[in-house]
Symmetry: C2
Subunit: 683 residues, 2 copies
């Protein structure tokens, strides 16, 4: 560009040297991409993006997503240069215990990091969610502003690597981004043709630019990572393109200008070695004997972006204040959402259900809850991965999210619409939900069959790591799914999902518990997954909001108040525990029934509460759940029994399956006898 | 086609009527696609594919993969018509308990079903693996035959739906199929523009044909599912195209000719209703009052395919016999592999390691095992999802699998090569491994970081359901991964993988256990996942093949032979158990150390063996494993303690992480004291 100075060039070269030095110091890491993408990253942070290093949370900022998270130095060094609070000592502490510069960027850990991008593909896919959220939020707060005129208008920029391009989750998300015509999204693909197994020709022969054209994206190709003029022009053209997402294929040489290792896999994921680092410095006119050399002049020049950011924010603030003045209700909504508060009295909207032997399915109850609270909680939005009619995730009377051109007979769309249609793309759904939750203050949810939580698991794990406020509506949560058979019946999923630290897996036992579960999820910020039945379950006596919120509680007390036996159930098996308790009480065994919809919430209670629900002194315990026993041993203990299923399911109606696989009152009663016997024997 | 008769037309219409009737009878299922794809399925089974209904295992057969598994009737009705053993009563029993016609096709359950295709995307992705296996097997058995002249030449045909096209796993696999130039693969995409949420315009706006061109596929478009002439011409052109995989976009109308429900989501996944079924029959000239109407003439006509198949097989047999005659060694290899036998004395090739405090990493030992046995086990082949240098999965001296045009500086390729390069596509890798294992008698393996087992989980689950002989090489199996940080460190994965029924998760404790683990895995047929360390672990005293094969065993006995305490460890923490035992023995606590590399193998032993390893009478127990405790409660019991990690990891060197997160001898000793105290208190 015309105003590109020698100082800019020196700053870019400083980035390369810092990248080489930082990896060399710790002895491991990824120097090559941070070196070759130095011009791109510098151009984005210094010349293209609207951001203010003094306020990383400014809602008007452009978002930057480093999908190639292994190249964390690409981001850290720009945060250092721009003045986000990272200093040279932080770069020197790369990848060490307690540092602000871990191996991959971590959200909530380092100021200026928008999202945790470790596993490849997730960043790009979540960026699609951010771009969707930006549009939805604009629709919530400022729908009538002219294009580009709203304080809620901004762009999402992504740097993606070969691995991001190869991972299927980005194909899913990119296809959807094209359908959604996300003009506020720009992805730069660092086509360096090198991955860990060296030359990508061995595994990647496709025409990626053509593939993105097929998705309906605006596609540009820039030759040469050093071509800052072409790069900046492409980025500006991408920003100017508002009807389609933009894809810039940038052809770079990894590790440039390391004389021996550039353009090889050796530059990707290992320190270059002292000699090669020195050679880089010599090539760029730096002192080969110095490390972490940053001239005051370069740093001062780069930190001027702070002034530009301050100015940009001040300009933006005028527009924002005018908007706030003109839109007091919307401003109040924004304030409430940013404060992460729920509105006064919102729980009055929650449905309640009378005790009823016939009952309803918990998925249906969930759908009723969503619809009941949709009016008072405009922040709530979501959809399904092509199972809307099964997951019951749509909000009636609301339009679907999408350009009007994709309206169908069944779904009327609006760019600001509320119901999401992910297609059969569970993984992208998970990543997109993360992007939505990180972008702003709305509360997104997404539905699929519970068995397909496997497809979205990498995104669910990241939600847990990032503590993203995302809700999964996983229906058809057991063999109760019925006829579709073993490939569609969750068996191991409850245990496997409970295994993820920080994820609340909530399996309500009836319609009221479903409403209480939704309430508790929304009152908390942590990611949560609802496990919901396909089939009807009775609406039970004794359920309570307080109990559900604590994860487990006494649903019905043993006669006399002192149990000899505790039966624990969740979801569709809670009713079996209730029935079995009646039989056992009839036999003279004082039996307590515990409903335990959420292990994680229960674990968060203090020991005295936990012991009050499952008394340590009552060793005779039976758990019943239509899944594997793995996560239950802890709760039932040595003398306990677990009525579980330890093999895959089968294709038949659910009544037959419950019977054939032993989820019956008789079996629970038999297990209770066995557990009582264990207790006797151990005396 | 010229020889298409009225009887063919009637047969196709019979398919439609049977599909409508079968779903109507059970009351649920997917009639629409089975109806609209009737001409395609009939053309494939009756006119295009080489197969013999009398021998579903004929190795020379073309393979058929119904990736749109929900449309299982598409397959069942052809199996019925062709004479694979399914009869009308089986169709009448659709989706009911014990029937041969479950909701989705199940491998090993119904004769003629090549693969279990429930979850969308898996069939197409696994078909890529079948096509790869076909080429590799040809290379093993008959590499020098001219193209099309070998008894090992045949084709793979796939029917895929909108959902298959949307799922990312097919994007991964299709990109790789293009790179691999799999000319033996033909995918027909049923572009009916209807999925469960009705018109796919709401979520799928891409130009799919162009996308497949971008992958390097041969692409054809056929308008109209009734266009049997165009369809057959396209299928033959696809078969004739041997340098690229073929993609046929077939534009159909779902549910055709149901007058009210065709071309709507209502025809996709629900019974049509009595009136609509009758209307279909009227439209096709069938008696609306009859159900399951199949004329003898139609059935006899269709079953003639059996004679054609018999003839085709006889022709093929001549070529096969000539090959066998000319290639006795290769024939002997084929016979051994088909018999699922390992060669005499193969275990002599396995490496052994002397006891050594420094030791090696178990991933390195695994790489040495693979290389040591590669010569005697030509059936073994595999690779990595772009982590070959980390997973140590390459076989030295062997070429990579791929057309010579994708040779790189690092990897020499050959169409019959042995080392696989999946790119950063873990999910496709999982599905492809399934396809390879199902296609023929080779033993494939695939590597990635253990944390990315999440990405491949749907395929791993299917391997377990199908009992496919697949081995996963999951390295970097704990916080021992180190600097890459929490997104790359498995925490919950050991428990979450153990949760999958039928999957053996094997975590060897040192180099020798790694060799024993590989041996046991290969001696078994079940899918298995190795959990291997990045970091060195000492080579321990007392390891044994018999012990590893039984899943758990006494590594070192308590002094005096009667333990007061049992310490159980796996993988890199086994050494900590050994060290802690020394301390405890020094304190006068007779302590047994149990190595427990595989829960699943241990569970398969009889109770007396299990009790001999973990005596029920010894309640003081400590397990140590660098993962969550979830799967351990069962083994340590009420008085036990578990040294585990219940939160995500961090970015630092592994020594620091082990110390900071409490995986130390002192902590295990302290846990032992606590467990001994629990036992005392409970007396």
């Amino acid at each position: 560009p015309d105003d590109w100075t020698e100082l800019d060039k020196r700053a870019v070269d400083t980035v390369r040297v810092l990248a080489a030095d930082a990896v060399q110091k710790v002895g491991n890491g990824h120097p090559g991409t941070a070196m070759s993408l130095a011009p791109l990253a510098y151009t984005l942070f210094q010349r293209v993006m609207r951001h203010d290093p003094a306020d990383a949370d400014w809602i008007g900022r452009d978002r930057f997503v480093l999908s190639a998270g292994h190249s964390s130095l690409t981001l850290y060094i720009q945060l250092f240069l721009a003045g986000y609070g990272l200093e040279l000592d932080d770069l020197k502490a790369l990848r060490t215990w307690g540092s602000k510069t871990p191996g991959h960027p971590e959200y909530r850990h380092t100021n200026g990091v928008e999202i945790t991008t470790g596993p490849l593909g997730q960043g790009l896919a979540s960026a699609v969610g951010m771009a969707m959220a930006a549009r939805r939020e604009r629709g919530l707060f400022d729908p009538d502003a002219a294009p580009g005129e709203s304080p809620f208008d901004h762009d999402i920029f992504v740097i993606a690597s070969d691995g991001d391009i190869e991972e299927g989750v980005t194909s899913e998300a990119s296809s959807l981004a094209g359908t959604q015509q996300l003009g506020n999204l720009t992805v730069v693909y660092d086509d360096n043709k090198i991955s860990i197994e060296d030359d990508t020709t061995i595994a990647l022969g496709e025409d990626t630019a053509k593939r993105y054209e097929a998705y309906g994206w605006h596609v540009q190709v820039v030759e040469g990572g050093e071509n800052v003029t072409g790069l900046e022009a492409a980025l500006k053209a991408a920003k100017a393109e508002t009807d389609r997402p933009s894809f810039i294929l940038l052809r770079t040489i990894i590790g440039y200008p390391a004389p021996k290792k550039m353009n090889t896999g050796a530059a990707h994921g290992a320190a270059l070695g002292d000699d090669e680092v020195k050679a880089v410095k010599v090539a760029l006119g730096f002192d080969p004997e110095q490390t972490f050399e940053v001239s005051d002049e370069v740093l001062a020049h780069a930190r001027e972006v702070g002034k530009r950011g301050e100015h940009a924010k001040a300009e933006w603030q005028k527009g924002f204040d005018a908007w706030a003045q003109a839109n007091p209700e919307r401003k109040a909504l924004l304030d409430r959402l940013v404060a992460k508060k729920l509105p006064e009295g919102w729980t009055d909207s929650l449905p309640t259900y009378p005790v009823d032997a016939k009952g309803t399915s918990t998925r249906k109850a969930s759908g009723e809850v969503i619809n009941a609270i949709a009016g008072v909680l405009p922040e709530l939005w979501g959809g399904s991965a092509d199972l809307a009619e099964s997951n019951l995730t749509s909000i009636k009377g609301e339009k679907s999210f999408g350009p009007t051109s994709i309206t169908t007979d069944m779904w009327k769309t609006d760019p600001y619409g509320r119901t999401l249609h992910f297609g059969v793309r569970e993984h992208a759904m998970g990543s997109i939900l993360n992007g939505i939750a990180l972008h702003g203050p709305t509360r997104p949810y997404g539905g699929t069959f519970m068995v397909f939580s496997d497809y979205m698991r990498p995104a669910v794990r990241l939600a847990a790591i990032m503590e993203a406020s995302v809700t999964y509506v996983w229906t058809h949560d057991s063999i109760g799914l019925g006829e579709d058979g073993p490939t569609h019946q969750p068996i191991e999923h409850l245990s496997a999902l409970r295994a993820i630290p920080g994820l609340a897996v909530v399996r309500p036992g009836d319609a009221n518990e479903t409403a209480f579960a939704w309430r508790t999820i929304l009152e908390n910020a942590a990611p949560a997954g609802l496990a919901l039945t396909r089939q009807n379950v009775p609406t039970l006596e004794g359920t309570s909001y307080e109990g559900v919120a604590k994860g487990a509680y006494v649903l019905s007390e043993a006669s006399g108040g002192t149990p000899r036996l505790v039966l624990i159930g969740t979801g569709s098996e809670l009713q079996i525990a209730v029935e079995a308790a009646k039989v056992l009480e009839g036999e003279g065994v004082p039996t307590r029934v515990v409903s335990m919809p959420c292990f994680e919430w229960f674990e968060a209670q203090d020991k005295s509460y936990r012991d009050s629900v499952i008394p340590p002194s009552v060793k005779a315990r039976v758990a019943v759940e239509a899944g594997i026993a793995q996560s239950w041993h802890r709760w039932v203990g040595d003398a306990g029994e677990i009525v579980s299923i330890e093999h895959f399911g089968a294709s038949a109606d659910y009544q037959t399956l419950f019977k054939e696989f032993g989820f019956t009152t008789e079996n629970v009663v038999a297990a209770a006898h066995l557990s009582l016997q264990h207790v006797e024997e151990s005396k």
